[in-house]
């Protein structure tokens, strides 16, 4: 007996680098700008969203402060930006602090409380909904 799930919305892995990596399309907005991006899903990032300089510039956001973050190579200080984060397929929209990084990322805080399918065979990342239990075939 196993858990039965419905596979919902999927996003194809991005293959502009090797190996291809999972992404989710999200929309970020500030007071007067809106940008839709497909950041890398990074489970090594425990925050919600990180944005690179170009996205911060496109959103016209100014830092709300600076915080110390831990990276693979040590600690560093980085700006934080107020942004509105929305993902319509997940019915998610909230205002949060985006971490300024070299590369835009979605972290574990964004993924939490949901069930995900990392489908490396078909190269896609999907939201799944448990529907109960199945007897199996």
């Amino acid at each position: 007996m196993g858990a039965a799930v419905d596979i919902g919305k999927c996003w194809d892995f991005k293959d502009d680098e090797q190996p291809p990596y999972p992404v989710i399309e999200v929309t970020l907005s500030s007071a007067d700008r809106k940008v839709t991006i497909t950041p890398k899903v990074d489970t090594g990032f425990n925050g919600s969203v990180a944005i690179d300089r170009e996205i911060a510039k496109r959103l016209h956001v100014t830092p709300k402060g600076t915080v110390l973050v831990r990276t693979a190579t040590g600690h560093r200080e980085t700006p934080i930006y107020p942004v509105n984060l929305s993902q319509l397929d997940l019915a998610v929209t909230y205002t949060t602090l985006a971490i300024g990084t070299e590369r835009s990322l979605l972290g574990r805080r964004f993924l939490e409380n949901k069930t995900w399918l990392l489908d490396c065979k078909q190269g896609r990342f999907c939201i799944v909904t448990p529907t109960g239990t199945s007897d199996g075939d």
Partner: protein, 143 residues
């Protein structure tokens, strides 16, 4: 920026007004150095000069609006400022929201603090958020 004497003055006088002679007597500065610091720091916007009614000598106090500027620059100056404000002893390991010299909110979780701070639309222009020391719930980016 004349950060070192500014931080020393902030640590000693906090938000209270002080005079040139106070720098000499309490911080041991030479008179000329104290005057030079007051003049430069006022020009740089670190201090606000005030004339008291009936008194010839000016008083000075730390300008609260420099807090945001220093926090956004980060680095050693930010650390020195937070230490001078006495935040390390009270909020070590936490994140704080500052409005001038005043801590208006604090939380060990950056996102919880951000949620509350960002909901106050009126305070947005003056508010700045930062960590005090190494956060207990530090944001980790391992890639």
């Amino acid at each position: 920026m004349m950060m070192r004497p500014f931080v020393e003055a902030l640590r000693t006088f906090k938000r209270e007004p002080f005079r040139s002679i106070d720098l000499v007597e309490k911080l041991g500065y030479a008179t000329g150095y104290a005057r030079n610091f007051l003049s430069q720091a006022t020009r740089q916007g670190l201090l606000i000069a005030e004339s008291r009614k009936g008194k010839r000598e000016k008083t000075f106090r730390a300008n609260p609006s420099v807090v945001k500027e220093i926090v956004l620059k980060g680095g050693k100056e930010k650390e020195e400022l937070l230490e001078a404000l006495g935040l390390h002893s009270r909020y070590a390991g936490e994140y704080v929201a500052l409005k001038g010299f005043r801590v208006v909110d604090h939380d060990p979780d950056l996102y919880r603090l951000g949620e509350r701070a960002l909901s106050d639309a009126e305070a947005q222009d003056q508010l700045v958020i930062t960590n005090v020391g190494v956060p207990r719930k530090i944001v980790t980016i391992e890639t």
